[in-house]
């Protein structure tokens, strides 16, 4: 399926909200009769505070049209700037099985105090009766952020959590709102492969004898995976070792009857793959025959766009993630 392309755009600086709403209506009107379907399953609001995040977020949103026809409202808040509102409205088209599907994207650059009240701007653009997931691209929102009031689901990236304090803030948010974590979705290959290593019945027994786990990676992913393992395997915090590293790797060490088995997931030999590995003591009773190691999983070419699309498919609470996050806050980074 083709990438979304801009069919028509409008932009202006120092405008009123009603100007942008009118411009959007004009664009929609122009699309009528062009043999294009207008369809949407949600209004996606993205909050992109900093320039460096804007590029990645915009790129991910551009790819999103291939998965979820949505009206997109991109917010660029800057409370430290003078009070102003700049707006851009664009009509995009994407080819879906020979149909041209149109959808709209609205960008609001908000300066001054209005940047702290984005909810008052967003509702003019939400589509009636459809979900409004709000994606915070860059920062974990404060639980008191007024924009959360319009969100049916909050999308965050726990990779952006700089310390345990932010993880606790995220946990607090998750207790009030449905939160979907893009980092958790990106870590799915590691979780799946590790779970798969214990799927053969004989390997399952090693789960009762976990001695320690070691999780390497940057702070967000390693805390989250460490929390997941500690919660699911009922480990004490001292059994979970977190190591700073560029790449995510997980190692579970089990000991039974004086013998040691290790279960590992990390970078695969093939480019951009995650692979699993199982090392069992030779001759141990009940060892499964080779080669029941789950095959490597290729990583997405565009992890942000793919995880965002995946998140929007599953806009519901994830009890396992919440438990992992809760436990992660008790682990030392």
């Amino acid at each position: 399926m083709a990438h979304a392309v801009a069919v028509d755009t409008w932009d202006a600086q120092g405008v009123r909200l009603s100007d942008i709403v009118a411009a959007l209506a004009d664009l929609r009107h122009q699309s009528v009769g062009k043999n294009a379907a207008r369809t949407a399953v949600m209004t996606l609001v993205a909050v992109v505070p900093a320039d460096e995040q804007a590029y990645a977020a915009t790129r991910a949103l551009g790819a999103l049209g291939r998965h979820h026809p949505a009206r997109i409202v991109l917010l660029r808040p800057d409370p430290d700037q003078v009070a102003t509102l700049d707006g851009r409205a664009a009509l995009y088209a994407v080819d879906a099985d020979g149909h041209q599907v149109n959808f709209e994207e609205v960008t609001l650059v908000v300066g001054g105090q209005a940047a702290n009240h984005l909810d008052s701007l967003v509702e003019a653009f939400t589509l009636s009766d459809l979900p409004v997931p709000v994606w915070y691209a860059g920062d974990i929102p404060q639980p008191t952020d007024p924009l959360l009031s319009v969100a049916t689901t909050v999308l965050i990236d726990s990779r952006d959590a700089a310390d345990s304090g932010q993880l606790r803030a995220l946990l607090e948010l998750a207790r009030r709102r449905t939160v979907v974590d893009l980092s958790w979705i990106r870590l799915k290959p590691w979780r799946e492969l590790l779970a798969g290593l214990f799927e053969p019945p004989e390997c399952r027994l090693w789960l009762e004898s976990v001695e320690s786990v070691e999780v390497s990676g940057k702070i967000g992913p390693r805390q989250l995976l460490g929390g997941w393992l500690a919660a699911q395997l009922r480990l004490m915090p001292r059994q979970v070792q977190l190591v700073d590293s560029r790449h995510v790797e997980v190692r579970v060490v089990c000991r039974r009857d004086g013998q040691t088995a290790t279960f590992e997931v990390g970078r695969g030999e093939l480019h951009r793959t995650v692979a699993a590995r199982r090392t069992l003591p030779a001759g141990a009773r009940g060892n499964p025959p080779s080669p029941n190691v789950p095959p490597p999983i290729p990583l997405a070419e565009d992890p942000l766009a793919t995880s965002l699309a995946d998140a929007l498919t599953h806009l519901e609470p994830d009890a396992i993630w919440e438990r992992a996050l809760s436990t992660a806050t008790s682990l030392s980074a």
Partner: protein, 530 residues
């Protein structure tokens, strides 16, 4: 990942202990807490898929790409293997090469499947083929650590179904080799050539396999849009109250193909449109359209209701066949801008062939919901376009307040379920034409699934293969469904043969013979132009 130490291969190939009294595998399996929350994804259990007819077209064109897609989506367990069986002399590597070339852009997971896969050359009526298969499957289970789950897929010509089932039964392969394992037999349509042969086939299969083990594939049921008939009807409150004789005037089912018989002349000569399309695809779509709401969307709930719906279709008498059914055959003509030959001039077709390439018919239904609502069915080759749709034509308003000039372009409402291509739902209703006069005209509210759900839907074979391996028979045809469908269709075959009903000719690229139009026009109705 750390450097290889004592790798699994080194640690385990010699590490399989014989079962002991207290062997861990005999204990209840503890749950895998790391898999918690991931169970929503259905995966095929560990096992082996054995494909009979492994060197054939269906395997290369449909089954292997579907399996590759399943492996890429990680819906096959590690160690999953395919065993190919066919008469073609090939070795394991030859079959693996075939698996690789059948899916040129395969992902890395497919390599794992290919690596484990094996081939067995043999005749289907030779007991030795099945004895060797038994040994091979036992070896594979031991080698790959599988619990004995086996799926046998018969991608052969129908004449081989009984032989393969007999052969499997003769060596005990129809029964699980280990406690808790599942053995399933998947067969492709056609299920018999008529009612008698269908019943014979059924009896032969049941000699060796229980009905719960038999998965009869009609790939139409694997299509998302066919399943969407269920979603549209039973997930929306607004349609179901109208879905009955009080509001619906008649139903039209169209299964049209623009192509001729291409290279399938030999097959088609033996089949014809009635056996090839009506007995299976049309009857499936018909039963989903007519059925009552099931208690639950599961295999028993849905299939019970489908059978009930088919049972309520009036089995045509000889007189009804003669008056309410039209059989036709295409002449030469123009199709999609190209001059095309008549059916009798196609390769491998008898120049005096009496095989029908077109069927139009009217059925009636005797039940509370549908009494008095005729069902018009039309299928054929070399029609103007490829389209499959179900159209529910609603009754007109009881009193039209507009004068004739104002409402000339207004027709009764219609709800159209487009199954292929351009899957979707369209609702036709009247709307005022802008202007001073009060003119009303038809407009179409058209929903395309492709434009609303941009996610790629699984191919029909991919869906059905996974269902068969998982053990979900909902989208497979049960024995009594096959039987009931044949009971409806069989009188047509019999009457055509006994009365030597002549074929009505139609030019290729048209909507069928004039007699088909007359069939519906005498009831004061018209075929839709899809």
């Amino acid at each position: 990942m750390s450097a290889p130490e004592a790798s699994e291969a080194a640690g385990t190939t010699s590490g399989v202990d014989p079962p002991e009294e207290d062997a861990p595998t005999r204990q209840p399996l503890p749950p895998n807490p790391l898999a918690e929350g991931m169970q929503a994804t259905r995966r095929a259990p560990p096992g082996v898929l054995t494909v009979f007819g492994a060197s054939g077209d269906l395997t290369s064109r449909k089954l292997l790409p579907a399996l590759e897609s399943l492996s890429r989506r990680r819906l096959l367990q590690p160690g999953f293997a395919v065993v190919g069986v066919a008469r073609t002399p090939l070795d394991d590597q030859g079959f693996r090469d075939l698996m690789t070339t059948a899916v040129p852009d395969a992902g890395p997971a497919w390599e794992e499947v290919v690596k484990h896969s094996r081939y067995l050359a043999g005749e289907y009526d030779d007991p030795d083929t099945f004895s060797r298969l038994l040994v091979l499957l036992d070896d594979l289970d031991a080698e790959l650590g599988h619990p004995g789950n086996r799926t046998f897929y018969l991608a052969t010509i129908p004449a081989m179904f009984e032989k393969v089932a007999d052969g499997l039964g003769a060596v005990g392969l129809q029964r699980p080799s280990q406690p808790g394992a599942a053995v399933r037999l998947v067969i492709e349509k056609p299920f018999g050539r008529d009612l008698d042969s269908a019943r014979q086939l059924d009896a032969a299969l049941h000699q060796e396999f229980d009905e719960s083990q038999i998965y009869r594939i009609d790939h139409y049921l694997g299509k998302e849009t066919v399943q969407n008939v269920l979603a549209l009807r039973f997930a929306n409150a607004i349609f179901e109250p109208l879905w009955n004789r009080s509001y619906i005037d008649h139903v039209q089912i169209t299964v049209a193909e623009s192509l001729g018989v291409e290279k399938r002349g030999g097959f088609y000569e033996r089949a014809g449109a009635l056996r090839d399309i009506v007995q299976n695809h049309v009857m499936q779509v018909l039963s989903l359209t007519l059925m009552e709401p099931p208690i639950s969307i599961d295999s028993q709930g849905i299939r019970d209701e489908k059978v009930k719906a088919l049972r309520s279709v009036v089995i045509p008498s000889t007189e009804q066949v003669l008056s309410d059914v039209v059989r036709g055959q295409y002449d030469s003509g123009w199709s999609e801008g190209v001059a095309v030959p008549a059916y009798r001039q196609e390769p491998d077709v008898d120049p005096k062939s009496e095989t029908e390439t077109f069927v139009a018919m009217k059925l009636t239904v005797d039940n509370w919901r549908w009494a008095g609502v005729p069902i018009y069915i039309r299928t054929g080759k070399r029609l103007p376009k490829r389209i499959t749709e179900v159209a529910l034509q609603f009754q007109g308003v009881p009193h039209l307040a507009f004068n004739a000039a104002e409402s000339r372009d207004l027709r009764p409402n219609a709800l159209v379920l487009r199954i292929q291509p351009d899957e979707g739902v369209a609702l036709r209703f009247g709307a005022k034409v802008p202007g001073q006069a009060f003119k009303v005209r038809d407009v179409l509210m058209d929903m395309s699934y492709g434009a609303s759900f941009l996610e790629e839907a699984p191919d029909a074979y991919e869906r059905l293969l996974l269902d068969a391996m998982v053990g979900d028979p909902t989208l497979f045809i049960r024995s009594d469904e096959v039987d009931q469908a044949w009971q409806i269709v069989d009188p047509l075959l019999t009457t055509w043969e006994q009365r030597q009903v002549p074929l009505a000719g139609y030019a290729a690229g048209t909507w069928g013979p004039r007699q088909a139009d007359q069939l519906i026009e005498r009831d004061g109705r018209q075929w839709r132009t899809p």
